[in-house]
């Protein structure tokens, strides 16, 4: 059974993103209510990148990204500093304010970027947006050390 971590985890790391998935699992009812998801995201944090697979009602797989676009729907990328700013903001407020939602950040396109090989893949980011927003806000529960 998934548990919320009390261990301080380094960001960025696959372990840190796995902790987000575990934190989401502890709130399964909320994610079930948001609805099913079928999507693979690559989150790029500076030079590092992680592949997150969402199936059913939650995130079922986290790994270091091997550079393959096979099965990947879209990428969300930003510098390590900008990810850090986002995560520290969420941890201070408990959730994103109006300037820090994922959609706002990628729509502005200044610091965060949404890309993908196919528009239909990019569109999955919109189709499951409320789930992804809830998911990133799990960061509030993860004791974090920035690498």
């Amino acid at each position: 059974m998934a548990t919320t971590t009390t261990e301080t985890l380094e960001f960025p790391s696959a372990k840190w993103f796995q902790a987000l998935a575990d934190a989401a699992d502890t709130d399964a009812e909320r994610y079930r209510q948001l609805g099913m998801v079928e999507c693979t995201l690559v989150l790029q944090v500076g030079d590092a990148a992680y592949r997150l697979t969402f199936e059913g009602f939650g995130c079922t797989g986290v790994s270091d990204w091997d550079g393959s676009e096979e099965g990947v729907d879209c990428h969300v990328s930003a510098s390590a500093e900008d990810w850090r700013e986002l995560i520290e903001h969420i941890q201070a407020r408990g959730r994103a304010d109006i300037h820090h939602t994922l959609n706002s950040l990628v729509l502005a396109g200044e610091r965060f970027h949404l890309t993908g090989d196919e528009q239909l893949g990019i569109d999955t980011f919109y189709r499951y947006n409320a789930t992804f927003q809830a998911f990133i806000e799990e960061a509030a529960k993860i004791p974090t050390r920035f690498g």
Partner: protein, 391 residues
């Protein structure tokens, strides 16, 4: 002088009860002689469908994909003329029934079944699932702009339902997926109308100025299905809405592609956590509608028996749709200005906000071009949506 209109063919309730009690089936049952045609029929013999099928539930429950997998009842390229649900048998003597759309390429998209399941799973309620307590009082100019933007969106939502709803009976029941998916879309659009309406009345504002949107559509016949346009009528006069392919392109690809961008922009513009939440939820629904439109377009172009002619027709239609919706939406003063005020954080920032509005328009245009391209319709050279707005 008053006259009494009698209808001799309609019996009284007592007469009717007597009549049905004389029917052979009623008489037979009274003697314990049941019909049981359906019960005794051999599976696969024409009266009963299959037997022994056991779809396995996944974590989500039993999906339509699970049922297709278990039964092997995937849709073929042509539907039989009848009301038979795909895989069922028929009562002896059951007659045929005509439908307007009987071929798979006319309506299918490879994501149609999964999108239906996604739609049912990701439904939400405007009354309970929106955290209305997160509303905060806004400066009057921002509240007024929010209300105008929401008024415009409310109109767009019922416009879509008015155009799409009459098409549900056009599809052969064999392709239940399209009927079911459209029903979810109608529910989605109803909820969007509802949530935008509620938002305008929830924070000290109210509904704003009605745009000439519905009138513009009515004038060209979009809502006049029975008088000629659309299913069951004469060939439509308005090419935007005369066939399902055209309706789906004009509505799902052009109109809702633009609306999806508007919702993303609305989330970005939202001045309270509540406004952000509303736009995240409607954005998800809208992206499903666009996903069907894109994949239907692809299926149509890949499978149409006259793909070249189809491509030509669609290009003509795209030209007309692009001009039509640009005028209705992106160039309308009330929309340009309400969005620019929100983007500029107030009336004083309207000019700065206009630049952000133009940025959102450019993104919308690019996403539209990428979607059509991926479906096999290259609009990059011919697109009537200008690369930038003329102000």
């Amino acid at each position: 002088m008053t006259t009494t209109v009698s209808e001799p063919q309609t019996p009284s309730p007592t007469e009717y009860a007597d009549q049905i009690s004389l029917r052979p089936y009623a008489q037979a049952v009274r003697k314990g002689d049941f019909d049981l045609t359906w019960f005794n029929a051999e599976p696969g013999g024409g009266i009963w469908g299959q037997w022994g099928i056991k779809a396995e539930p996944s974590e989500r429950g039993i999906t339509l994909m699970d049922v297709d997998r278990a039964s092997g009842l995937y849709p073929g390229p042509h539907a039989p003329p009848g009301v038979t649900p795909r895989g069922a048998g028929n009562e002896p003597g059951l007659g045929p029934r005509d439908w307007d759309l009987n071929d798979k390429h006319e309506l299918w998209g490879e994501n149609l079944v999964t999108l239906y399941e996604e739609a049912t799973s990701r439904q939400w309620r405007a009354t309970e699932d929106i955290d209305w307590h997160l509303l905060e009082e806004l400066p009057p100019d921002l509240e007024r702009a929010t209300c105008q933007f929401n008024t415009f969106l409310t109109m767009g939502e019922y416009l879509v339902n008015d155009v799409l709803a009459p098409w549900i009976p056009a599809f052969n029941t064999y392709y239940h997926e399209i009927k079911l998916f459209l029903a979810t879309q109608l529910m989605d659009e109803a909820r969007h109308t509802e949530v935008f309406r509620k938002r305008t009345f929830a924070n000290g504002g109210g509904l704003g100025m009605t745009l000439d949107l519905g009138n513009a559509l009515a004038a060209i016949g979009a809502t006049k299905i029975s008088s000629g346009d659309g299913p069951g009528g004469e060939p439509g006069k308005n090419p935007l809405f005369s066939t399902w392919d055209h309706v789906s392109y004009a509505i799902h690809v052009v109109f809702e592609g633009a609306i999806l961008s508007m919702f993303r922009f609305g989330e970005y513009l939202g001045k309270t956590d509540l406004d952000k939440q509303i736009f995240r939820m409607v954005m998800q629904d809208e992206a499903r509608h666009v996903a069907y439109g894109t994949m239907h377009l692809k299926y149509l172009l890949d499978n149409s028996p006259d793909a070249d002619a189809q491509l030509e027709r669609l290009n003509d239609l795209a030209t007309a749709s692009e001009m039509f919706f640009l005028d209705l939406f992106f160039m309308h003063p009330a929309t340009v200005e309400s969005c620019s005020i929100l983007a500029g954080d107030g009336l004083d920032g309207i000019e700065k906000g206009l630049e952000i509005y133009k940025m959102a328009y450019r993104k919308m245009r690019e996403e539209y071009l990428l979607r059509t391209e991926s479906a096999g319709l290259n609009r990059r050279e011919a697109c009537m949506l200008p690369p930038d707005l003329p102000f």
